[in-house]
Symmetry: C2
Subunit: 239 residues, 2 copies
């Protein structure tokens, strides 16, 4: 915790970050082993490891299973003021989006959901759990709840794309308003396992409530993102 030690691991961090920024190590590429990094600079194993943790915290590198450290792909950029879903903004950035349905069930409206939907506890709801990927890497898991009264038989439709599109085409339900709440979090066991990351890694919890023109809640969606997979970006000008 002394100052020289602190400077030391930041120096190693900068050396690795420069190799990545300069393109010597490319997104998705595996880093040299800790031992190889150590031999290069003649620094202590603990200092190397601290530099790697720092780079992981910044989202520049990530761990995969037990096979080592990899250079992070660039994050997808998400602008919450734009009217676009995951499948379209990811594709617009030249990346490959995928959606996988993990489970779909009919549930009874819980005390927590009742005030959100303005429906009685016990009313039938659909709950859909999905995992979404960018270029084959899982980036988020989400749980979506839809009022069964608004979209009867929803679960028989294909759910591996844009749910908003399904609601529009099959039920003529149009989203007129989106409220998006985002809070950084630590990924805990359930989400971490679904994303194949270590539990405790930072993440982003995104809650999206979508309303139709009559003010009815048509989708209630809670997403957990891995922290290095997205960047929220908003650009505003004075009116």
């Amino acid at each position: 915790m002394t100052q020289p030690d602190s400077l030391h691991y930041l120096g190693v961090r900068d050396a690795i970050a420069t190799r990545i920024a300069g393109g010597e190590l490319k997104p998705g590429e595996r880093l040299p082993s800790e031992r190889q990094l150590q031999v290069g600079g003649g620094v202590a194993r603990g200092t190397i490891r601290e530099a790697l943790f720092q780079l992981e915290a910044e989202g520049i590198i990530y761990r995969k299973d037990r096979s080592g450290w990899y250079v992070s792909p660039p994050p997808v950029v998400y602008d919450p003021t734009r009217w676009e879903g995951f499948m379209s903004y990811v594709e617009a950035q030249g990346r490959r989006p995928e959606t996988e349905t993990l489970s779909k069930t009919e549930i009874a409206c819980t005390p927590a959901l009742a005030p959100i939907f303005g429906r009685p506890v016990g009313a039938p709801m659909y709950r859909i759990r999905r995992r979404r990927s960018v270029d084959g890497r899982a980036v988020l898991v989400e749980t979506i709840v839809v009022d069964a009264a608004l979209a009867p038989d929803l679960l028989s439709h294909p759910l591996d794309g844009s749910l908003t599109s399904v609601l529009k085409s099959a039920y003529n339900i149009a989203v007129a308003r989106n409220r998006v709440d985002m809070q950084p979090c630590a990924l805990t066991r359930g989400e971490a396992e679904a994303l194949q990351v270590k539990s405790g890694l930072p993440g982003l919890n995104v809650v999206r409530t979508s309303y139709d023109a009559q003010g009815r809640v048509v989708e209630f969606d809670r997403e957990y993102w891995r922290h290095d997979a997205l960047k929220i970006s908003v650009d505003i000008r004075v009116r």
Copy 2:
């Protein structure tokens, strides 16, 4: 990692969360000790601890020094589409904002800053490090860089409030555009120490670039927030 164990710690989590949501344990209040929580329900110490880590990850409780667990105060809500600074939106939410200057120095423009400001490497810049609090709890540390050519002698002004106001009143510089980029991160040693939290805790990295009407960068600000202190909220309607 088995299913029953998983259900067990989530049950303990729910029991504590219910006491907090019901107002039995209030924001800022200290939680009963792990031992007391254990005696209450007859569950293993490890299970109690896992439930506490889960609640910390959700931002519901937090650790203070070595003195135990406390109920988190509600997060401040930040809407990046609104034209408001920290001092004013925190106060508008009935909370008490404070800004403390940690350091202020003249620096030479670095290779990383040069393209942001459109200024040569070595040009004089001001760098201001500040810590901001809500109701006496440190919530963010930030590093602001300002081009010294635009605001000569800036460091002699009071910097413990809104810097945007100082630029306006003392230099007639008005911000016309803000670009805000946000990414979840892990707080590493430097920021964690300034915020008095454990290194590795999740945080939010907010980078704000402010431009005047001529497109010149007038403020470049990098903030690190503790994860339970803010909620980003955006509400949009279809056009």
